[in-house]
């Protein structure tokens, strides 16, 4: 589904991502782990087509991100870090606008809006201004936006940051459910989250892939933490 080969991204002289290669199969939920500044967000931005790689190729569903950006973007639901939204719009208006922007209209738009608002528990706040929503609700709106065009791939940059434990649990459950229909990549630095939601983990450190392995073996959070610390060289 996603094929990344020798991806390198420089910001000026600084290499944020260096020679990263990995593959994500259809239907997988992949956890993207790494310390702050390891290049997680940069990689995701390249995947979503916001930034362009300095070198290397990225393909999503067989389309190259650089050469067919619109085809790729049609197949991706992207939620950026910190989840920016238009505060002056109402939830419903915002989703309507995003659906239109992604080429969904008419009865399809109505049914998709209904679906995502149900799925992300937004029914009660749909007439509310986004600027008045709490962090948890904003995160849900971002997720609903990512889902609205029925993308094959979901790219979620820190979907649970800033949420309270109950919300984290809810979101985690939702992502698990979504993993049955979509291929999901999510970044986080909460280890227990990876353990509970993902079936594959990629640890990235200093811009390079340090570990790329399946979680089918049933590692628990403690083991993962051990691995993480060993790889990132923390003390």
């Amino acid at each position: 589904m996603i094929h990344v080969e020798h991806l390198t991204k420089y910001y000026g002289d600084y290499a944020a991502v260096r020679d990263v290669s990995f593959d994500v199969m259809e239907g997988q939920i992949v956890g993207f782990l790494g310390p702050n500044g390891a290049g997680k967000s940069t990689t995701m931005r390249v995947l979503a087509g916001y930034l362009t790689a300095t070198s290397g190729t990225v393909q999503v569903a067989g389309y190259d991100v650089f050469w067919d950006p619109t085809e790729v973007r049609r197949r991706i639901g992207y939620m950026p870090e910190s989840c920016p939204l238009y505060g002056e719009m109402r939830v419903q208006e915002y989703l309507r606008f995003r659906a239109g922007l992604k080429g969904i209209y008419g009865s399809k738009r109505r049914s998709r809006m209904d679906y995502v608002m149900n799925r992300c528990w937004l029914k009660d706040v749909r007439r509310q201004l986004i600027s008045t929503l709490s962090k948890g609700y904003r995160q849900r709106v971002g997720l609903a936006d990512a889902l609205i065009a029925e993308p094959e791939v979901l790219i979620l940059d820190e979907p649970t940051s800033g949420l309270d434990p109950a919300q984290i649990r809810e979101t985690r459950g939702l992502i698990r459910e979504l993993g049955e229909e979509h291929t999901v990549i999510l970044s986080t630095h909460i280890l227990s989250e990876v353990e509970r939601t993902c079936d594959h983990v990629i640890i990235i450190n200093k811009g390079q892939v340090a570990l790329d392995r399946s979680l089918k073996g049933g590692e628990n959070a403690a083991q993962l933490e051990e691995l993480f610390v060993r790889i990132t060289g923390g003390d």
Binding site: G49, P84, L85, E88, L101, K102, G103, G106
Partner: protein
């Protein structure tokens, strides 16, 4: 195309969701209201030789008006990209399946739309300014007049069809009627009028439209499965343009050949300077908006965007203040006039002149700024 329409709609409504729109509208209307009520109208209604020749000049030909006016485009464009950049929503916008140039075009069109809305209330001054008298109706039923009215009717029907909430399939059938009527009108004129040029072009266009209509489903290859909505919208749009061209052309013929208008309105001043003034307003405004948008796409803070675009726009106003005594044929005189918008209005637009030099300046600045805006958005890719 439709994602762009969605974006235009959002950008346009966003003006009304923030206080900017209301501040700009109020300040602007107070300003133009003052100029109209206390300056232009005063002079216009004075008895004797004091009355002025070109009332529009009193409002638009004044360089001080432009100095203040520059605030408006800066206010309207400062948020376009700067706000999205600072709040991070730019990332969301640019990862949607829409091209960078479409984003730029949509934002520019929305800004233009609001700019035009800003000027609409000033149309209220016009009846007083022109001193309209009772309209007289002199119907002269020549073929051209009938064809012109037919075109207007066709436009009305097509517009209604576009807006009507009926099934696209029925729309497709219904809009064939005005289309055929237009075609018939064009063809009749071709034979009756004897002039090949008149009807031939539009009839040929009509025929092409029909062919397109029949061929489109076949070309797309899915006779029943294609997107009716999009296709019907597109075809209707094309036909609206053709109907407009038809109306304009036969209206012009009617005006020129028979030299009798359908409706006769007596006004105290010439109406052409008013028309050209508004044309100039739209074009010059588009230039300032394009400059503002370019600046907004390069900075993060709205305030900075507004100030820089104000500074850049001043380059097109300040030359009007600097008037040393020089030979009117000299290069620096001509350069100064070429770059100063108030002079364009003082000399040309408010007197009913459309000078191609002004248009060239506006068009080139607009295109250059739009192009650079697209590039500046793209720069995130290699930075």
């Amino acid at each position: 195309m439709r994602p762009m329409l969605t974006l235009i709609r959002r950008e346009f409504t966003a003006y009304f969701l923030s206080p900017i729109a209301y501040v700009a509208l109020t300040v602007f209307l107070l300003g133009t209201g003052y100029l109209f009520g206390f300056v232009a109208l005063d002079l216009l209604t004075k008895k004797g030789p004091v009355g002025i020749e070109y009332p529009m000049q009193e409002m638009l030909g004044d360089e001080r008006f432009w100095l203040v006016f520059l605030l408006i485009p800066a206010l309207l464009t400062m948020r376009l990209f700067a706000e999205e950049r600072s709040s991070g929503t730019l990332e969301l916008l640019l990862t949607a399946p829409i091209r960078d140039w479409q984003v730029v075009a949509a934002k520019f069109i929305a800004a233009m739309g609001f700019y035009v809305v800003l000027w609409l209330p000033t149309l209220l001054y016009l009846p007083a300014l022109i001193g309209l008298q009772k309209a007289e109706f002199h119907p002269e039923w020549s073929l051209s007049a009938i064809s012109m009215l037919g075109g207007v009717g066709a436009m009305a029907i097509i517009l209604l069809l576009l807006a009507a909430p009926i099934r696209p399939g029925i729309k497709l059938v219904l809009f064939l009627l005005p289309l055929i009527a237009l075609f018939a009108a064009g063809a009749t004129l071709l034979f009756v009028d004897g002039s090949i040029k008149s009807g031939a072009v539009l009839s040929a266009a009509g025929l092409l439209g029909l062919v397109f209509l029949v061929a489109a489903p076949l070309l797309i290859g899915r006779p029943c499965g294609y997107r009716f909505d999009t296709l019907v919208g597109f075809v209707l749009g094309v036909w609206l343009l053709l109907a407009f061209a038809h109306t304009a052309y036969y209206g012009w013929r009617h005006f020129v050949k028979e030299d009798v208008s359908l409706i006769h309105i007596v006004s105290r001043i010439d109406h052409w300077p008013v028309v050209t003034s508004y044309l100039g307003i739209v074009l010059a405004g588009a230039m300032f908006l394009a400059i503002g948008m370019l600046v907004s796409s390069m900075v993060k803070s709205q305030m900075v965007a507004a100030l820089i675009s104000l500074g850049l726009s001043l380059a097109f106003v300040l030359p009007a203040f600097w008037r040393p005594e020089t030979d009117t044929g000299s290069l620096d005189y001509r350069l100064r006039n070429f770059f100063s918008v108030p002079v364009h209005f003082h000399h040309d637009f408010t007197r009913g002149l459309i000078d191609s030099r002004n248009l060239v300046l506006y068009a080139s600045v607009i295109l250059c700024c739009l192009f650079l805006t697209v590039r500046s958005l793209e720069s995130r890719r290699w930075r």
